[in-house]
Each structure stands twice: as structure tokens, then as C-alpha cells.
């Protein structure tokens, strides 16, 4: 590979330092735009049952939410009934004269139409810039309707995607009543979002719930993955908070610990046997259920022993090149790096954008704190103007990187065509889900087996041409 194609080659700690010192600018190029604060706030809020997210803005802001999140994801895939995505439909006159009056009417109308348990006003760019006082309106409206009314300042310009998640989780804390009792052996799972059913990857959370149930641990609420307002009200009565993903649960976990004194189990994603054990013990030990957890772990480990043996044999001595830069995200890539290392492979994570390092700083630091510090490569193509979906330049660079190493296996998705076995970890294929926990070990072993045993089968000329064109390579 030509040296000028490599922008960074070092380890995670060094990359973090470069981002922190400003040597690498954590800014996405103009052709790459992640979700805005409003989107992510909506994701979290819509994860509460019988809520009306009331968007105080023009019709463009809620439409992606109502089409993609509500109708396609929730109704079509997750068995959630059609829920409202209400909007005040601000127009030019409201921009000039203000939209507070209309907002107050809209809250009352929303209550009359939808009979919700909760209304959350989400402000957008327009209402934010013109200075509509959404909090005061929420307070006023609450006196006039029969449910709680909260307001969230979620203007798209007001922060990056992460701030929407975090502010929404913070807002949810306002619904939590002082505890009247303690629910023994019960936890909340934090950090879920995306529609009123468990998180965007149901299978992973199902696996967590299965294991917790086997240990005898009960779940009060999955916040905010399909929980009810009532469950949130009782959220302070649990013994412990845990997170389905450290990255997303961390903020709410820390806040609830700080404000309410509820301990928070800080563990990474349960990829592979060690991380899964850590996750389960991280929850069971503080609850005094360590023995039960160890028994479950032992039983489950026996169940997956053939898969563990296969993964050890298959991955030992290999270089595992890992690329999960867009979906489902870099934290999974790093969790996989840990799993690969556990089975004797040398992980090399490629193309984690400095922007991602900045946005996920607490999680990156946590991961480094666990002792994981994988080799990282960033290539020039990562910073070029182009499509988010696919870039021929990064594909060419990936292929060149693979040639730099011996005995390589690639963990990513089937949209890449490196000259080595490809483990397809796309979350778009439910045939091999979940990836968490012991079922995850079985699935990942099956994916590795498919990659290695079929390494000599031809790759699709059609899909390659579709993604990268048919021009001279």
C-alpha cells in the first residue's frame, strides 16, 4: 500500500490523543451528515409507550420520524401500533409572530385526540431561533390536560446527535418519582431507544433478558425501549441500573447514580465469553446473585463449548481486520476487537473517523481503561467527499491493507471485497442474530465458519459492480 493512503497508523490511545490535542480534527466532511439533535431526542422519547412527541416546527422535521421510525421500524417490524407523530406545522406567520399560542393549543388538541400518558414538546430549529418558550408552555399546558407535559430543547443546530440522546434521557429523569419501596433483585436497562419496543436490535436485548431471567433478575423498565410512563415513575425503586450498550446508557446511568444514588453497572457490550461474563457479573454481583450468575454462565459456556473451540482454532494467529464504521457503529467494532483478541487473533480496526472518537469519547476512554488498545488504521478515502454508503477509494484502500498482513480474516459486512475471508456482521441479516451473549457466540462462530469454509467461492461481480462501479480497478 502506498504510504500516502495512510492518514493514521497507530493504536487507539494514540488516535484519542491526536483528537484530544486537535492534531486530528474531529469533523466530518461536507458530504457526511449524521443525525441532528432533534432526531436522536425523538428516538428516545418515542420509546415510551403512549407518548405524543409533539414537534414544534414545520412538517419536514417529523416526517423522517413518522415514515422511518414510526411506520417502517415500529409498525412494520416491531409490532408496535401506529402512534402519533404530532406537529405544530409552523409557517411563515409563526416565524414572524411566534408560535407559543399555537403550541399551547396543540398540546390541548393532542391530549384530546390521542389520550396519551405523556406529551413531550420537541423544539426544532425554527422554534428555537424565534425564541418560543417551550418550557413555560409545557408548564402551562400541563395544568390544562390530564397528563404530564414536558419540553425538550432539541433544535437541530443545538448539538450533535449524541446530545439529543443524552438530553432526552435526562428529561426522562423528571418523570421518576421518589422511591416508595425497593424492588429486590430488579434492575432498569438504560440506553435503549428507537420506537416503543426494545432498542434497534431486538435480538441483542432479548439475549440479555434471557440471561438475566435465567439468573432470576427482574427488569423494571427498559429506558426508553418500549417502557411505560408508570415503569419510569418507579425507576428509582430498583437496586441497580445496567446498560444494553455502555455507550448509550452511560450518561443516564451516571446521572441516576449521582442524583438518586442508584448504582450503575459499568460494563462493555457482551461480545464473546469474557465480556458476557463481565456483563452478567457486573449486574448479578451487586445484587448478591453472583452464585446464580456463575451457575448460569457455566451452563451456557458448556452449551457453546464446541463454538468456543472452533473460534479458538479458527482465529488463533490470524489478523482480524475489523471495519464497522457506519452501522451499527464503532463501539461494536471495538467490542469485536476484544472478542477477536480473546480467541488469539490480532485485531486491527480500520477507519474509525476522528469525529466518532470525539462523539464517543467516554466510551472510548472506558474501553481503553479495560486494557483494550487495538491497532487502528485510518485511510485517506475516509476523509474524501463522497457517499456515506460506499466509497471505491476506501474499498481499494481496504484491499491494500489486507495485503499488508498475513493470514487475514475480515470482520465487517458483505459490501466489502478484500482478498481474504469476509465475516458478514451486518445487522441487516436476522439469520445470524443476536451477536450479544452466548447465542451471539454461536452466531459469530457460524459466520466465521461460513467465511472460512467458503473462502474459495467466487464473490458477486454483480454486487461489487453495484457498489463500486465496473470501471478499471
Amino acid at each position: 500500500m502506498e504510504n500516502d493512503s495512510l492518514v493514521f497508523h497507530g493504536d487507539l490511545q494514540q488516535l484519542l490523543e491526536k483528537v484530544e490535542t486537535g492534531e486530528m480534527i474531529p469533523k466530518l466532511q461536507a458530504s457526511h451528515a449524521p443525525m441532528c439533535k432533534f432526531f436522536t431526542a425523538y428516538y428516545v422519547i418515542s420509546g415510551i409507550r403512549h407518548v405524543v412527541p409533539l414537534v414544534h416546527g414545520p412538517t419536514g422535521c417529523p416526517l423522517y420520524m413518522s415514515d422511518f421510525v414510526r411506520t417502517r421500524e415500529c409498525c412494520e417490524i416491531r409490532g408496535v401500533p401506529l402512534e402519533p407523530t404530532a406537529c405544530t406545522t409552523l409557517d411563515e406567520s409563526h416565524i414572524i409572530y411566534g408560535g407559543e399560542g399555537k403550541l399551547l393549543e396543540a398540546v390541548k388538541e393532542a391530549y384530546a385526540k390521542y389520550h396519551p400518558d405523556l406529551i413531550v414538546i420537541l423544539s426544532c430549529c425554527c422554534s428555537g431561533i424565534i425564541g418560543d418558550d417551550v418550557e413555560s408552555i409545557a408548564r402551562e399546558a400541563e395544568k390544562q390536560v390530564g397528563c404530564r407535559v414536558l419540553a425538550l430543547r432539541s433544535e437541530g443546530f443545538g448539538g450533535d446527535f449524541r446530545s439529543g440522546y443524552e438530553d432526552a434521557f435526562k428529561l426522562i429523569m423528571e418523570l421518576m418519582d421518589p422511591p416508595k419501596t425497593m424492588m429486590k433483585g430488579t434492575i432498569n436497562i438504560l440506553g435503549a431507544r428507537w420506537g416503543p419496543s426494545p432498542t434497534e436490535f431486538n435480538w441483542d436485548l432479548d439475549e440479555i433478558e434471557r440471561l438475566l431471567s435465567a439468573i432470576g433478575i427482574k427488569i423494571n423498565a427498559i429506558i426508553a425501549g418500549g417502557c411505560t410512563v408508570d415503569q419510569i415513575r418507579h425507576a428509582r425503586e430498583v437496586e441497580l441500573n445496567a446498560s444494553w450498550c455502555y455507550d448509550w446508557g452511560q450518561k443516564l446511568g451516571d446521572l441516576m447514580q449521582e442524583k438518586f444514588g442508584i448504582p450503575y453497572s459499568k460494563t462493555g457490550q457482551p461480545y464473546g465469553p469474557e465480556a458476557t461474563k463481565e456483563w452478567l457479573l457486573g449486574v448479578a454481583t451487586p445484587l448478591g446473585m453472583e452464585e446464580e450468575a456463575l451457575a448460569v454462565i457455566e451452563r451456557e459456556m458448556k452449551e457453546v463449548e464446541p463454538d468456543l473451540a472452533y473460534l479458538r482454532q479458527a482465529l488463533s494467529g490470524k489478523t482480524a481486520i475489523i471495519e464497522i464504521s457506519e452501522f451499527p457503529g464503532p463501539i461494536r467494532a471495538l467490542s469485536l476487537a476484544r472478542m477477536a483478541e480473546e480467541f488469539g487473533a490480532r485485531p486491527v480496526v480500520i477507519n474509525v473517523h476522528p469525529y466518532t472518537i470525539k462523539e464517543r469519547m467516554p466510551s472510548i476512554k472506558y474501553i481503553l481503561g479495560t486494557g483494550l488498545n487495538p491497532e487502528i488504521i485510518l485511510t485517506r478515502g475516509l476523509f474524501r467527499l463522497g457517499s456515506f454508503r460506499s466509497s471505491k477509494e476506501t474499498e481499494d484502500e481496504l484491499e491494500a491493507i489486507v495485503r499488508m498482513y498475513d493470514n487475514v480474516i475480515f470482520f465487517g459486512n458483505s459490501g466489502r471485497f478484500p482478498p481474504c475471508p469476509v465475516v458478514n456482521l451486518s445487522l441487516m441479516n436476522p439469520a445470524f442474530q443476536p451477536q450479544y451473549g452466548y447465542k451471539g457466540i454461536k452466531n459469530i462462530a457460524a459466520l466465521v465458519r461460513q467465511a472460512l469454509e467458503n473462502r474459495n467461492l467466487p464473490r458477486s461481480r454483480l454486487f461489487r459492480g453495484m457498489l463500486y462501479g465496473t470501471g478499471k480497478r
Binding site: 451528515a33 419536514g60 416526517l63 437541530g156 443546530f157
Partner: protein
């Protein structure tokens, strides 16, 4: 969506505008992006916070752009730019794009920069000498209205900024307007059918506003003798502008678009008459009707079993209005609810004329939103709905056996674009009914387990 600014007919009670809606339509910014992305060899720069880029992505998909050919950029405005202005970052981003191999860069601005007063027109004028491509600013904040308003805004800019005046008229030619203001998820096939029909009648298309339209076509669009509007929801202003400024006559005005036998016959006949191609139009109608009937004879559309079944139509006006006659006449159902996304006067007049002519009086909801649709369905209790995935879920709990998804389909299941216009369009709509009929009849549970 907000009620549009047309006066109500005399004597009718003006409904109180609602404060809380659950809209079907996207905003003006999205409509402008859809229109700009229909220009081939161009790129689009959204001067907006990063979330608005998702409205651009939606437009990108709607226009079937290819990410290997079309780049979209975003200034990703943050608090700093809202407080201090975003013109500098806009200029920087345009400079960043200066090596792109394009003929035009459309700069569309969203709510934020428009409220704080960023002058995208001035920035484009200043930067124009530095870049090889045309800079086309389109101020199109979401609060200016619905996606259809955005289409009108963008078409207005395109016509005023890019079209050359004083060009020679090409006799018997046509300019197609707003093919993309159509809720058929594969509307490109409707456009293709129109082009094929025009070609058969010997009518040259000077320009399409817009879909894969080279800048050179747009520049010459004033040389068209006529214009043909392909939407009942947007584009009328563009047709009026061309008429006023260049004397371009609008053809097929006030006729429902060609969905179903009668509508297609009427539309083709009008074209044939205007362009002196009556005989060709007649043969197209005869051949088309023969083909549809012969195909149905061989394939047996199950739609024939839905005779006098109460139906609801929930769609944009472009598909919804022509569907009324098709559903009533060709499929023999009884429309009992017609809910249209838009409510402008031309839409009301056209639908009301059609209802009178057919002799039916269903419940009509103009400018519907999801709530009004759900309430309408609850009141009317149809057995068949022609609508979208939303209505499939909105009718839960109601005894609706068939929801025929023809617009705004959330699961993109078509690899080949399917038209609703014309004769194959009739078969495509029958196929939608057929598939829904099959699904409704499929056994959901087995009565016992097989032994093997």
C-alpha cells in the same frame, strides 16, 4: 399540513385550522431538493443543520440519483452559525466543492439560515467567478409550506435563473412539468409512459422539469410550444409562468391524469386533438384497451370479485383523483372515503367535478393528516383501502380485509419501476389488488401438524 390559501366556496363553513397535525407531506425544503436533484450532472448543497440532510437523502432516493454520479453536501450549521451567521461556512463549502465535475451546484437553504438572514443569493453571486459550474441559490426553508410548495419554489428559481429567453419555438413540442410531484413510489415509470405516448404521437419533449434533465434542456425549455403538467399537486405555477412569459400553452389542463381506461382515453384524446394526432390516439386507446382486456382474460384479476365493495382512497391528488374513477368504473367498487393530502382550489374543483360526473358522493377530506384519515376510516369502515403503509396500520381494529398499498410504500419491494398511468398501469394496479387479495386469503394458522 396547514390549510392552503384558497377561498372556500360560498356558503361552506370554513374549518377551524388545527394546531396539532400528523402530516403526510414533507416540507418545502424537501420539495426543493427533489426538484434540484432532478437536474442531471449537478450537485446539491444544503445550507442547513445536519438533520435536514435526511430530507435531501429522501429526495435523492425519490429522484433515483446514483451516488457515483451525484454528490450532496451540507454545511451542518451549529449554534455558532445561527448566532453569527453561516455565510462564511457556506462560502467555504462551495470552495471545497469547486473541483466537482458538475454543471450546476444548487444551494438550498433551510429554516435556520433563512430566519437568521443568511443571504445565499449574495454568497452565490460572490463565489460564482471562482467556480466553473453554475451556482443556483434556492431559498427554500421548510416553513414556506409543504413539499409541493418547495417544488413550486424550486421550479420558479430554475425557470427564472436558467431558462434562456428568445429561443425559437419548436413546433408541436412539449415541456413536461413536475413528474416528481406524484406519490407513486416509482413515478419514473409514469413519466416514461408519458414520454412513450408522446413519442408515438410525434410530439417532441423539449425538457422535463425535472428528472435526469441536463442543464441544456432546462435552458431551452422556453422553446416548447406547449406544457404538460404531470401532477395535480404541484407545478401549476410553473405552467402559468411559462404561459405568461413565453406564451407556452398548457395542454390537458383540468383533465385527471391517465389512470384507468376512461381517464387514459380522455387524456390521450385531448393530446391527439391538440397535436393533430387523433388517429394515433384512437389506435393507442384501441390497442391498449384490447391488451388490458386480453391480459385480464388470461390472468383473471381478483379485483373483479370486489364488485360494490366499499372503498377508501387515501393519497395525493395526482394518484387519488384519477383513482376515484378507476376504482368506481373499472373495478366496480364504491368509494366511500376520498382523503387527499392537498387541498388547493384546483384539487377541490377537479375532484368535485369528477364525483358529480361519476355520480357518487363519498366522504371527502382535503388536506388530510394521519389523524383525520384514521377518524375517516373509523367513520366509513371501508372494506378496501387504496393508500399507503400508514393506512394499513391506521385501520387496525377495523374490519378492513384489504389495504392496497399504492403510494408511500415503506417497504421498497419494486426492483422494476411500475407505472400507474396508461394501460400497463391498469395491470400494475390490478397486480397490487391481486397480491393483497392473496395475502388476505392466505391461511395464517394450520389446523393440525403434518406427521412428517
Amino acid at each position: 399540513m396547514a390549510p392552503e390559501n384558497d377561498e372556500e366556496p360560498a356558503g361552506r363553513k370554513i374549518p377551524v385550522p388545527e394546531s396539532c397535525t400528523d402530516p403526510y407531506l414533507r416540507c418545502a425544503f424537501n420539495g426543493a431538493a427533489q426538484t434540484a436533484l432532478g437536474v442531471a450532472g449537478s450537485a446539491l448543497l444544503a445550507h442547513s443543520p445536519q438533520g435536514c440532510e435526511y430530507l435531501v437523502n429522501n429526495a435523492f432516493a425519490s429522484q433515483e440519483c446514483d451516488y457515483m454520479e451525484t454528490v450532496t453536501l451540507c454545511t451542518k450549521l451549529c449554534v455558532d452559525e445561527i448566532v453569527h451567521g453561516g455565510e462564511d461556512i457556506l462560502a467555504r463549502t462551495i470552495r471545497e466543492a469547486k473541483d466537482l465535475p458538475i454543471s450546476a451546484l444548487f444551494v438550498i437553504s433551510a429554516c435556520g439560515p433563512e430566519i437568521v438572514g443568511d443571504d445565499i443569493v449574495a454568497v452565490c453571486e460572490t463565489l460564482q467567478p471562482e467556480v466553473k459550474f453554475r451556482l443556483v441559490p434556492i431559498p427554500s426553508p421548510g416553513f414556506r409550506g409543504s413539499q409541493y410548495d418547495g417544488i413550486d419554489i424550486a421550479l420558479d428559481t430554475i425557470l427564472k435563473r436558467l431558462v434562456k429567453t428568445g429561443t425559437d419555438t419548436i413546433p408541436g413540442s412539449v415541456c413536461l412539468i413536475a413528474p416528481h410531484a406524484n406519490a407513486n413510489p416509482t413515478w419514473q415509470a409514469d413519466l416514461a409512459w408519458v414520454k412513450q405516448a408522446l413519442s408515438r404521437m410525434g410530439i417532441p419533449v423539449v425538457a422535463t422539469l425535472t428528472h435526469k434533465t441536463p442543464l441544456s434542456e432546462i435552458e431551452n425549455c422556453a422553446s416548447a410550444e406547449t406544457s404538460l403538467l404531470l401532477s395535480h399537486d404541484a407545478g401549476q405555477k410553473a405552467a402559468d409562468y411559462l404561459s405568461t412569459t413565453s406564451g407556452i400553452e398548457q395542454v390537458c389542463k383540468g383533465i385527471p391524469l391517465p389512470i384507468g381506461l376512461t381517464n387514459t382515453q380522455r387524456w390521450l384524446a385531448a393530446l391527439g386533438e391538440r397535436f393533430g394526432a387523433e388517429k394515433t390516439a384512437e389506435s393507442m386507446v384501441a390497442e391498449g384497451e384490447k391488451m388490458v382486456m386480453a391480459t385480464c382474460r388470461r390472468k383473471w384479476p381478483m379485483a373483479r370479485f370486489l364488485y360494490r365493495t366499499p372503498a377508501a382512497i387515501v393519497a395525493d391528488a395526482t394518484i387519488g383523483i384519477p383513482l376515484v374513477r378507476f376504482v368506481t368504473e373499472e373495478m366496480e367498487m364504491t368509494p366511500e372515503l376520498v382523503a387527499l393530502y392537498t387541498s388547493q382550489r384546483s384539487v377541490r374543483e377537479l375532484l368535485e367535478r369528477e364525483l358529480r360526473d361519476i355520480g357518487i358522493s363519498p366522504k371527502v377530506v382535503y388536506g388530510t393528516d394521519v389523524y383525520k384519515t384514521k377518524m375517516g376510516l373509523d367513520e366509513v369502515r371501508p372494506k378496501v383501502i387504496f393508500g399507503s403503509t400508514i393506512e394499513r396500520h391506521a385501520c387496525r381494529g377495523l374490519p378492513v380485509p384489504y389495504v392496497v398499498e399504492v403510494v408511500r410504500i415503506m417497504r421498497q419491494f419494486r426492483m422494476i419501476n411500475r407505472e400507474y398511468f396508461g394501460y400497463t398501469g391498469i395491470l400494475n394496479l390490478f397486480e397490487c389488488v391481486q397480491n393483497e387479495w392473496t395475502m388476505a386469503w392466505r391461511s395464517k394458522e394450520k389446523r393440525y401438524e403434518a406427521k412428517w
